[in-house]
Symmetry: C2
Subunit: 220 residues, 2 copies
């Protein structure tokens, strides 16, 4: 009795199952909103066992961060080694649980997660430099936006599932989302004219802030 092995793997040690449950719950509800007892209950063990294996909630969190980082790096290396890194899918392809946890961790201000963000941007820049010779003015900023959007969208699973009419954790929803993302990445939202208009609007906005009109000439 009791809900054991919701991830479908009952052949893991209790410690590993606790870590997995913690990652899933942390990703879903946030770290602060998840109690040690919640995690223990999800695995079907007592709260004391969490303490026994990890010492404290903070240590458990660290263990999750380390595990996620390790797995993501391993996944990246596999993809790179296997030569199938290919497209920009280097970002959120596979490992949705890991990535969702990591993004949550970012929002909660984890240092290692922040570091990972920078790495992803650098990685995107490399890919862009190799596959997209020129045509992009601010490559760094472009990639930062790309990574921020890609990761941010991961947090919108529930909303995307509702709007697209299919669970984003099920194969069906994943495929539809993947197709939509390809279309999104290959069909520019703004044509050159619209982009020029938008940039002009930004320039104008920059020169005349909302309510004040600076009288001094030098800018600082």
């Amino acid at each position: 009795m009791g809900a054991v092995g919701e991830l479908g793997f009952d052949d893991l040690t209790a410690k590993a199952r606790l870590r997995d449950a913690a990652m899933r719950l942390f990703a879903e509800h946030g770290v602060e909103a998840t109690s040690i007892r919640d995690i223990a209950k999800a695995v079907g063990v007592s709260g004391g066992l969490v303490r026994h294996h990890f010492g404290s909630k903070e240590a458990l969190r660290d263990a999750c961060d380390t595990y996620a980082l390790t797995q993501l790096v391993r996944f990246k290396e596999q993809a790179a080694g296997g030569g199938q890194a290919a497209g920009p899918q280097f970002l959120s392809a596979g490992q949705p649980v890991l990535l969702r946890y990591f993004v949550r961790s970012m929002l909660d201000g984890s240092p290692s997660a922040r570091e990972m963000f920078s790495q992803m941007v650098a990685q995107a820049e490399d890919w862009l430099e190799a596959n997209h010779p020129d045509g992009i003015a601010d490559r760094h900023a472009y990639c930062a936006v790309l990574v921020a959007m890609e990761l941010g969208a991961l947090m919108m699973r529930e909303q995307l599932s509702t709007v697209l009419g299919a669970d984003m954790l099920e194969p069906e929803g994943l495929v539809r989302l993947a197709r939509a993302k390809v279309e999104f990445y290959s069909t520019p939202l703004l044509n050159p004219k619209a982009a020029a208009t938008a940039l002009a609007a930004i320039d104008q906005l920059q020169q005349s802030p909302p309510k004040r009109r600076p009288t001094r000439k030098a800018k600082r």
Copy 2:
């Protein structure tokens, strides 16, 4: 003494200041991670006053949701009425605090926030239909991805600030981000060939799931 009016508006009632502080803290750290005492301290009043004005934390949260929704709708109407709705900036232009709160609220599972997500997708579809005649196969999914990414990226303020080297709440950082977004929206990440390759990979992946080979014919 005490920190009062961090938003720069001291001419608001204590109730309004509490609501604003709650929205800022909820957006920054999440609802569960923010205590009533934190909010009261931010405004410089006692925790009891929060209870007096709002009754409970849940009621305070509802008040924040309602206020954010009202303000966003008003902003939308103003933009539409003023005729300056223009570009796809209808999404996250202005009101960053409101939107950040709203996205956090979405992640925490707020019904009204979820409803707002659907509305934004519908709005994006209207804009797309008016400004982007054809060329997009699945307009609904395309817009869902657009909104999810736009809103999701809002949550990455800290990471974007670090990577771009400027605070995304300051005009300087905002301008750089705005420019990067325009470039991102106007320069496709994937060229037609890359897109075709990606779609082919998705099709293949759909036909042969990772590890299991189903022997039965009917799917349930």
